[in-house]
């Protein structure tokens, strides 16, 4: 039963994608299948989370090859939380796609591609083998490449070139790091690597793959100064795709970084934690300053992804149990809020036909409900109490003060003010000021539900996290405990 729970988050999207490709010419069936698949993925993720919380870390040796020779799947709490979030975002985006993706994209396999992407993301979260992690990254990347370019509009293709190039570059570096790690340690199983690297006679040699991995995952996570592909490409595809990417893809990079720098390498040796902290501060600042200069709804949001990545990395750089818990809390809060903001930008586009702030306006008067829906995640992103972003930042600030890293704490507080400024800019321009011309339309009747349901659902979850932060916080705390002390992970994986 346990091993089934661990494999289901991979089997469900895989079979959904395969079936979806088989019924490519029947759009109605495809939609039903895609929704059901995403719903099942979320359910299986929740099942895994409950089971991991009660029974500790789960592992499966694929093909019954004993670790470290075969491929191991392992789920600790952090993985399980991430799988649940993947299912949640998958479901929200598929629902939103039902009402927003054009028939042509549907015919060219939009839904199967989404599920292959979800498969890659879940695989990356669940694998316990570093080469297998590379393979899952590639699964995720190739489907994201196609989703990015699907439709072939000029902006999409220009964005895709940059996205593809930098992500392939990062894959090459990742592959090299895996090769060097194998050369040093003679194993690819992450638990086994953790043991071997701790007792290696050449700890300095392990710095080379550590830095390569930092850069490879840094590109995927869009940290300073490796983030330029993100604002150049995330606003080009249809908004459902943007929302999916914004919610999940960079966070896979952050996840991999946290996994590698807690399990494989000790960041406090050789000053890696300082590098990460400096990068995190600069990521926050450049991201938020980049957003200030923008006037396009989705580009502002894209730059805010970057600045928020800084907060997640900050928890890793501080490297205390509470700061890692802060990172995990932040990731969960951010995935929900950011996806929701992108979906709302899509609704605004539906109503006014533009993403440019100067063409927008008057939405508050016409659609006060939508305005409230925007304010919830927007203020949460900025960290206004009592919303979820406030709790996330509070934990990180507290963790920073505990280890006397005042500079990064100051930076994080200033950046959250600037975030508020730029959220208010969107508010003023799109919602508050009067409409430039009276061309407000209403949402199309037929697919109104599909468009509004995911936005409402995600906003409800944000409010729930805001009002009852203890649930998520205690989960994050337990997950962080497992990360700080990997002995249990190693014992369960290698089985001795």
């Amino acid at each position: 039963m346990r091993s089934l729970l661990l494999v289901l988050p991979l089997l469900i999207p895989l079979s959904t994608a395969v079936l979806g490709l088989l019924i490519r010419r029947k759009p109605h069936l495809q939609r039903v299948l895609a929704t059901a698949g995403a719903g099942l993925l979320l359910t299986s993720g929740l099942g895994l989370l409950v089971s991991v919380q009660q029974g500790g870390i789960h592992t499966v040796q694929i093909g019954a090859w004993p670790a470290p020779f075969g491929i191991t799947l392992a789920a600790d709490l952090f993985s399980a939380i991430m799988v649940v979030l993947t299912g949640l975002i998958g479901l929200a985006v598929v629902l939103y796609s039902l009402g927003s993706i054009d028939p042509q994209r549907e015919r060219f396999g939009y839904y199967p591609l989404v599920h292959i992407l979800l498969l890659g993301v879940c695989g990356a979260f669940l694998t316990g083998d570093i080469f297998n992690l590379y393979v899952w990254f590639e699964v995720m990347l190739i489907s994201s490449f196609v989703l990015m370019a699907l439709g072939g509009e000029r902006a999409q293709l220009e964005g895709a070139i940059k996205y593809v190039t930098l992500n392939l570059m990062s894959s090459a570096l990742f592959l090299v790091a895996v090769g060097v790690l194998y050369g040093i340690a003679g194993t690819l199983n992450m638990a086994d690597l953790s043991k071997t690297l701790r007792s290696t006679p050449h700890p300095d040699l392990a710095m080379a793959p550590a830095m390569l991995l930092l850069i490879a995952f840094g590109i995927k996570a869009a940290i300073f100064p490796l983030f330029f592909w993100l604002p150049a490409s995330y606003h080009t595809p249809p908004v459902a795709v943007s929302a999916l990417f914004a919610g999940l893809l960079t966070k896979v990079g952050v996840y991999a970084m946290i996994r590698v720098f807690t399990l494989l390498f000790n960041p406090q040796a050789h000053g890696i934690d300082l590098i990460i902290l400096v990068a995190s501060g600069l990521t926050m600042i450049t991201g938020v300053l980049g957003a200030v200069a923008q006037n396009e709804f989705r580009r502002i949001l894209s730059f805010h992804i970057i600045s928020q990545i800084g907060y997640m990395i900050m928890g890793l750089g501080l490297f205390t149990p509470i700061s890692l818990a802060g990172s995990i809390f932040y990731i969960a809060h951010h995935i929900i809020v950011k996806t929701n903001l992108f979906l709302i930008s899509g609704l605004v586009f539906r109503l006014q036909g533009s993403y440019h702030l100067k063409d927008l306006g008057g939405l508050y008067r016409k659609h006060p409900g939508l305005a409230a829906l925007f304010l919830t995640p927007a203020l949460s992103l900025a960290g206004i109490p009592p919303l979820s972003g406030f709790w996330a930042k509070l934990i990180l600030v507290k963790a920073g003060l505990e280890v006397q890293q005042y500079l990064i704490v100051a930076v994080s507080l200033i950046v959250s003010f600037l975030t508020l400024f730029s959220m208010l800019k969107i508010w003023n321009e799109a919602f508050w000021k009067s409409a430039p011309e009276e061309h407000l339309t209403s949402l199309p009747q037929g697919n109104r539900l599909a468009l509004l349901l995911p936005v409402l659902g995600l906003a409800t979850i944000t409010v729930w996290i805001s009002l009852v932060p203890e649930t998520l916080f205690s989960l994050s705390e337990q997950a962080a405990q497992q990360l700080v002390d990997p002995t249990e992970y190693i014992r369960r994986t290698l089985g001795d």
Binding site: E138, F145, G159, I161, V164, T165, G179, V180, A232
Partner: protein
């Protein structure tokens, strides 16, 4: 042999990065291809090169006699080649589409998405 391969890997990286920094998207793709070949060769070299000692247990023996060639890097490279092949194929189709739609192969002309 290790030294020769190390130089080859370094040369491939240099050539790949040089090609990637050119303005033409065709050269960009060639650069990416060279980069992935360099990575594959590097894994091959990191697995330690041992000639003429396949990892086969001799008749009558119980275990492998040292030294023997490690088969795992080759399995890794094989996987990486297959992935690289698929990605390259996609990239080639992508640049063809880009050339058709944008009408140029100059990367400096493709900054519309970055304009304010």
């Amino acid at each position: 042999m290790d030294v020769v391969l190390a130089i080859a890997v370094g040369g491939l990286y240099a050539a790949g990065l040089y090609m990637m920094m050119r303005r033409s998207i065709v050269k960009l793709i060639i650069g990416l291809g060279l980069l992935s070949h360099a990575s594959n060769l590097l894994i091959f070299t990191m697995g330690r090169l041992i000639r003429g000692r396949p990892p086969l247990i001799a008749p009558g023996a119980e275990a492998l006699a040292e030294p023997y060639a490690d088969p795992l890097p080759q399995a890794l490279i094989l996987t990486a080649i297959v992935i690289g092949f698929g990605v390259q194929a996609f990239a080639v189709v992508l640049i063809k589409r880009v050339y058709e739609i944008v009408g140029t192969d100059d990367l400096d002309q493709m900054k519309r998405t970055d304009e304010l």
